[in-house]
């Protein structure tokens, strides 16, 4: 598959994530859009990893080129999981205090 297809797909997913962040006010949906953007990047990393691997295989049949890209995805998932746990805890906190998940309620960086 031409790598450009993957790039376009990922850009589209990423942009949809951005639009979601910009247009929704529900904190949980915003959060989910961020996850969507992370996943778009993950997909792109895997695609590039396979692109490099394919290019390297033509020269050396035992090459491990491109493995770092996939490991990066792995670490991004780790960080995303940690982030989600903390982020959801914060949203729960916020809901407990304001009885709303509207991000516009968070326009004061105090209290």
């Amino acid at each position: 598959m031409p790598i450009q297809y993957y790039i376009y797909l990922c850009l589209a997913l990423f942009s949809i994530g951005i639009i979601g962040v910009l247009t929704r006010r529900n904190a949980i949906v915003v959060f989910m859009c961020i996850e969507l953007m992370l996943n778009a990047v993950n997909l792109l990393l895997v695609a590039f990893s396979k692109m490099h691997h394919g290019a390297a295989l033509a020269i050396d049949s035992t090459t491990k080129a491109g493995i770092d890209g996939q490991l990066f995805v792995f670490f991004i998932m780790v960080v995303a999981a940690a982030e989600v746990s903390v982020g959801l805890a914060i949203i729960v906190m916020m809901y407990r205090n304001t009885h709303s998940v509207d991000i516009n309620f968070l326009n004061r960086l105090k209290n």
Binding site: I7, A12, L13, I16, L22, R24, R25, M32, Q70
Partner: protein, 166 residues
């Protein structure tokens, strides 16, 4: 068109459609469900690229754990009502337009990038995505970041509990 191509376009269409549905669903629970569909489509892409380990992990961690967590929180808060405050229509327009511009500019950038011409991603073969090879790399070259990520997890856990207890 080969099977792989058919599968690719199908999965792509599914991912994009589901992603859009995430946005347009008014009910957050529906958004979560559509997002799980997106993750499944992306996992399908991983399989096409022969990144089997990541495909499985993506399903388990994202679609399984994280999205369940989301659902859990939404239901805990009883947000399934459609009471979400709506943004002003102009703000929405502005968001869509700026996001569109962003997409447009990046796409045009990629189109004129000569480096990306004639490059392909290896489909269905190649062994870097196998769990054996990834595991070897993870426990040899990447062992330190791996261990550090466990510390990160621990601290995230502690942080979540501290925040949640207040």
């Amino acid at each position: 068109m080969s099977t792989i191509q058919i599968l690719f376009f199908f999965l792509t269409a599914l991912a994009l459609f589901s992603a859009i549905m995430v946005l347009v669903s008014k009910n957050p629970v529906h958004s979560v469900l559509w997002l799980i569909v997106v993750f499944f489509a992306i996992s399908g892409h991983y399989v096409l690229l022969n990144a089997q380990f990541l495909a499985i992990v993506n399903l388990i961690v994202y679609a399984g754990a994280i999205m369940v967590l989301f659902l859990f929180v939404i239901m805990l808060m009883n947000l399934n009502s459609e009471a979400e405050p709506r943004k002003h229509i102009w703000m929405k327009m502005a968001g869509v337009i700026s996001g569109g511009c962003f997409l447009m500019v990046l796409v045009s950038l990629v189109r004129q990038a000569t480096d990306m011409q004639q490059r392909t991603a290896l489909m269905g073969s190649g062994n870097v995505g196998l769990i054996k090879n990834l595991g070897k790399a993870l426990f040899s070259d990447y062992v330190v970041p791996f261990e550090i990520s466990s510390v990160l997890f621990l601290s995230a856990m502690v942080g979540a509990i501290v925040i949640g207890k207040k």
